[in-house]
Amino acid sequence: MSFQHNDNTHAVNYAHTLLAGLNLPPLSDATFPDIHPAINNARSGVQGFLPSKNKIIPVALADYADGALLALKGIAGNHTLKNNLPESGAILLGERMALFNTQTGQPVSAGGSCHLFKALDGYLAINLARDEDTDLLPALTNGKVSAPIEKQMLENILKEFCIEDLIPRGRDLGLAIAPVTLPDYNSFDNWVEVSRSTTSQRPATTPPPLVVDLSSLWAGPLTGSLLASLGAEVIKVESSNRLDGARRNEDDPAGEREFYDLMNGGKKSFTCDFTTQNGRQQLLQLIECADIVIEASRPRALRQLGIHAEKMVAEKPGKVWLSLTAYGRGTATENIIGFGDDIGVAAGLSALMEIIHGQPLFVGDAIADPLGGLHGALAAWSCWMNGGGIIDLALYKVLGFALSQDPFLRDFNKSDLIRRTSDWTDIINMSNENLYSIREPIKTAPLPGHHNEEVLRKLDAL
């Protein structure tokens, strides 16, 4: 993708690049409004909601989101339901911030759990998303911090440690931790790895695929909701004693409930207890009959429950297994955890902000999540139409690959990036365009286990 003007917009070019990565031909009749990437970023909310006062992100993030959705619409062909898909990909990037009323472009993530710290030799991000993550900080610092942990104390202690010491120990501990550094953008060969099924089978046109969605939070649920928009029957499966943490109660702010509805509104809800024999049996049965499985766990979690993606895909012709991980399947990376914000840091976004603006800052809201969810839907639907298989979708590689399409990052050129930042700042200051309007949920998400009876009846009938 280049930033010179040509016949195709950035979004269309990126859609073609994504399709090429799946060995699919380019779109035959793609048209997409030619929006300047600076304006698309600003309108998407990825820079926050006071665009002129926020620091410009000089990369076309909103265009990449548009391109991924455009490619999905392209492969959905004449599918009448594709009109149910969101209008653009860009509008998905800022919708959680808009609904949660949070802000980006700071040293703390919009969601509030990911923090940038200064170490002896650079910056790093630590995402303390889970309550018990704080328990790991004494071990991370060789016992130098102890409970109760205050942020100031942690900040002071981390300054004594080197990045190359903290990152591997943090990852051993299961912390979401990433250095603020630019990766080698030439190392991103593709955005996804698909192992085609040996029992490859073209899907029947009807009925629509049955999707079992085991994921929680944002990326995986977004993929599931996009597949539901395309007519798939999606069953969201949760362990009854460990529900999706993004679920909200009646007394939570309306915006937070609305976001959960946007991600899960068109799905059925099934719950069972993964810690009991009976619950595990139901989970296994559901996964066995699914046409598409979406899961965003570390591979060992399902293996420890006796569920193996390879076996499942081999046993049912045409089955698709979408594995969303932070850094990819395979022994070197599959146990490393990551969430949307720290993966954004790992993919170089905060280092870019430091280079351009003199201060490492977060970019967007859990940016790898909405982008990953969009790319996940594209990968899953295309794999479903082409005979099934295992999709290894690493959020880090999705974001890294997208950024690697930018020639100023691939052949890193600071002065060009600075010039672009100043051009884009002028454009934003001169334009007075509104944010894209937020989507409205089509349906309210069902309560946990609302469809248990229906789903169990279905399993019994098999």
Partner: protein, 100 residues
Amino acid sequence: MQIKAGTKLFSAVCDTQIMVLRVPADDLDVTCGGLPMQTDEAAEKSLMSDDAGEGSLVGKRYVNEAETMEFLCTRGGKGNISVNGIALEIKQAKRLPSSD
């Protein structure tokens, strides 16, 4: 053996590797498969001296009954982890995060 948070321990009998998350300030006898765990990985493993149980599972947190100590298994193996002769138990998984 005096250990502290962040100390990494290796089994003398199997692949098990654990990291100390929280320990009381006492001397502890941490064993795996019946033999004391070590701060360096042995080139050759010894034979397990107690009965093989379920072994250790990577990613799980192990605690004593009073939860005064906690270890994280960073590599699983065949040996069971015990402290002062009492087998540790797997700590139950906590709630998923509400947002990231």
